[in-house]
Symmetry: C2
Subunit: 328 residues, 2 copies
Amino acid sequence: MADVARRAGVSTATVSRTLSGIRAVDPDLQSRVLSAADALGYRVNLVGRALRQRRSSTVGLIVPDFENPFFSSLAQHLTKAFAAPGIDLLVFSADSSIDRELRGVHSFIGRQVDALVIIPVDEVESAASISLAASSVATIQLDRRVPGTGAHSVGVSNRRGMRLVHEHVHSAVDLARQPVAFVGAMPTSSSGHERLDGFRRWFGADEPSLLGSFDAAWGQEAATRLIADGWTSGTIVTAADVIAIGLMSRLQAAGFSVPGDFRVIGFDGIGMVRLASPTLTTVRQPVESMSQAIRELVESGGQTANGEPVSKRIKPQLVLGASSPAAG
Amino acid sequence: MADVARRAGVSTATVSRTLSGIRAVDPDLQSRVLSAADALGYRVNLVGRALRQRRSSTVGLIVPDFENPFFSSLAQHLTKAFAAPGIDLLVFSADSSIDRELRGVHSFIGRQVDALVIIPVDEVESAASISLAASSVATIQLDRRVPGTGAHSVGVSNRRGMRLVHEHVHSAVDLARQPVAFVGAMPTSSSGHERLDGFRRWFGADEPSLLGSFDAAWGQEAATRLIADGWTSGTIVTAADVIAIGLMSRLQAAGFSVPGDFRVIGFDGIGMVRLASPTLTTVRQPVESMSQAIRELVESGGQTANGEPVSKRIKPQLVLGASSPAAG
DNA sequence: CTGTTAGCGCATTCAT
DNA sequence: ATGAATGCGCTAACAG
């Protein structure tokens, strides 16, 4: 920077002000600085800037893993949401490990991110990481949440999502005759937990439920178990699109028809639901609204009037596909 | 750090040496420092460290987007590869935009990443970004590459992959009677380019090819076009698993059978190929080997004996699924 | 509007 | 093996 200042015949302060745009600079000097910087191929060192400003124009996102397409979708939409404010979204994968998640928190805090967005790995074990994060930077839990950490939270109302599923199924299927089952995930995340609760609340606590993990392989496994248990028809409510897709493929491979024999309903609203055959009925999480909510929270500095963390629940939407019958 | 030093009754240098582990410290003082740091909840500021050391113990990865499952898989495997050496992999999405890609390069360089891994957006337009990156930090192109940028490159041999497909098809299908078509991507990336070249080289330049983008929606669109053109059977070689999956679903929705009427072959080897029905025959890119190659390149500081950039081509593997007939 | 100066937090000299 | 002092690159405070 001193080199640029010398070449432009100004002080380093003027160079800094020109390049950062924080204060007004005389247009003449400004252009001299810019051409000097250009000639020298100079670029500001963001580490130096971050050290001085005590912020890095960066937002960190910690995801449990990159391979879950819903997390990918959130990461992509968050990237777009922060592009305009001039903030770089940097993404770190916890690789489904509590230790790695904690490491990600330390790394981002140490790098002075302006805010930290985190999709917690575990409803209980992630508490330490998130509390630590929340104690030193604006921290927002996304999709999943861990209670009592002091961090903000943005996500859909999972129980409401299950109510939408129930209304849809109830309007079209004779529940008294059609068996219903839930294929979900172990309640080690709030989304797994709340979707199971929601299913039990609306469909009844006695309906059968199979719990595994949020991936297609589990959906296949669950289908195999249902068939082994003698199921030949029914309505299967799942906790995630990826589970539903694995489940449908195994049911179809076993000779069953969807929606003829089985109705299948997903959750999340990933892009793939439109490419499945049949297209999948699902509860869509409005990822754009969620991303916007996070952007607004970050821009407000994560400060609230009463000092309490914000918990923003967004309403999910039912998206009809061909995997379940529409009303009438 | 001064606080910790005061509490432990040592100098800041000793605190620094204890916490960074760079030089030997007396065990007594060491434990005093550690307990003082613990009591104060002190954590090193990685920005200060990065400024002083002129490196950040960080590797940047720029992907075109998060939604392509093959890129997600690479990101996940790279995360694992760098976990052990104590380096944090930070991922940035270019959102399929040249401008955003350039911004990612500036951001990572300005943050003093130890190395930059980049999956280029465009075979031509990305040249400026990559050359810039290569001129200031060890830069490795992954999967796709742009020639003449001075950056290293790690990827599979796409033409060899197409040869594997040809051998497989040739061993099982009467090529003279079975029509073959290629459904690929526009040659705006080296992978799109090279896979098309490979197809033409081994199957013949006169075989029909349809070019679109690397996503399932294009696979569906291509299937629609093939059907409209009167195709009722044949072998479809694709440039990506996601294309093949979209294609298969549309063919099946139109009443065709796979592999009965159409044989379909993918490329990349994403996890979903085992979940498709039928399971998809594909050319698998060994993502573990690719990640290891990158880790080694980064650990060597990106320096080579002759000063020339390294171009590491890894051999892809044919993985048989049920979407195409096995030999015999 | 511009220049001078100080210091963000740390790892590294150099001296002991 | 330890401590004192320096400076990494930048911007904020202050004075003009």
